[in-house]
Symmetry: D2
Subunit: 144 residues, 4 copies
């Protein structure tokens, strides 16, 4: 069974807009927090990776489907699964629920780069083996 | 020739992250500003639409491809084209350049709702005719 | 002994600027989170207060002294003390440390209003008695 | 007559909170934009200063008085005056109006540092002479 990374965030007042719900751009900011915490569980300290492995990541693509709204003080339960582990790229599928209700689902694709040259580089093996348990086979086709 | 909506935003210091470039979530916030200004040009005041037409919009889907970074004080030149005018939905294609260099390209799909019931409703005719000149035929297939 | 409210927040990547430290405006956003959580401990649900007591709060004044920087992934330990409980106003003193190092200290003054008229109104008695244990006598003079 | 720096910002939807008004922390973000634009008028490019003069600035203190709310799409007219030019510190007084109505007034105190050591250093003379025309004598006492 593939692992699923789970993390909860409580919606802050300043993250909501005049419609009383989370402003759409803040979901991308949440995704970044989820990825940071996922990294801590799967790999360890993000900054240490850059120094030890000579590898950094940049965002290549994001996609969000907005299914229902979340409001101030709601607790968002995020789930992250690895949709695709490529040679130089990592695609994560992330969704969030308030209770049983789906709020958003989306994807972030990151590319590994050499911090010095900013050029693409293969994902370090140790990182690949840390991410591998989270690969969800059913998402592979969709992520292409 | 279809119309293209153009708008320039200067990158604010607080919108940039420790890599020295615009934090990815802020591009969705920029998209929202671009849509506000596009609306002003194509339709008029957004709030007036809600009251006059009994129609509001909610974001249904967003997608961003990150092509190259933008830094503090850069001037981002945005272009918006209507990729699809459906019965209840509007898909806009947005890209941004610094000079000639493509920084991002993406899409936002909005759905028209009845502000009272929050249910989907057809796009009002006057709004459709305001948006129609911006429909870019070459984007139709991609947006599906 | 007056009570002190304590809460920890971890610095998010997108909250940091190109100097690699928390962008100054985000401390005001943190203060808002701290006040929300303080309210939950001292009074209960903020939204319930508005409905039950016919009282809302608006920010009247903020002040922050920036003592040292905080960086991505740092854990900020906030402490909140009530500096002054007036008839219609509440002044909270908030500071934050990373370990033993003082990062910021500041104040937020809120005024109680009637949500209908938006005019000032006295603080409800039940709220006053919830806040009273957190009044720090040594801060009274400074807050004036 | 001392010079006053003026700049207009239009309130973005995502900058407003569920009360329908600008979320308080965003005023500090606006202050940062105003200071950037003030710098462009008074001194020139901020990044060039760092390289040419070996001087950077960090925020030491901020204060905001919230007088009345501003809403989505409002145009905020900012005015900046130099309240105090010290040896190592610069205090700017900033206020904002919507039409004739005062929305906020506040202050930002910055300290000049050596970018290498992060220690305080005197303000470079060329910068002082660029800022001098904006010193407002009537604010001197208040800023202390």
């Amino acid at each position: 069974m593939p692992r699923v990374f789970r993390h909860r965030l409580r919606v802050r007042y300043g993250e909501c807009d005049p419609q009383g719900v989370v402003f759409n751009a803040n979901y991308l900011a949440y995704f970044d927090v989820i990825l940071t915490e996922f990294w801590r569980e799967a790999i360890g300290d993000y900054m240490a990776m850059i120094e030890e492995h000579g590898a950094d990541m940049v965002v290549a693509e994001s996609r969000i489907g907005f299914r229902s709204p979340a409001a101030f003080d709601d607790e968002l339960d995020f789930e992250l699964r690895v949709a695709r582990l490529g040679t130089t790229a990592l695609t994560c599928h992330i969704d969030a629920r308030v209770g049983d209700r789906l709020v958003i689902e989306g994807e972030m694709r990151h590319v590994f780069i050499d911090p010095a040259t900013k050029g693409k580089r293969p994902m370090p093996d140790e990182i690949r083996s840390g991410l591998d348990p989270y690969v969800a086979p059913e998402l592979q086709t969709a992520a292409g």
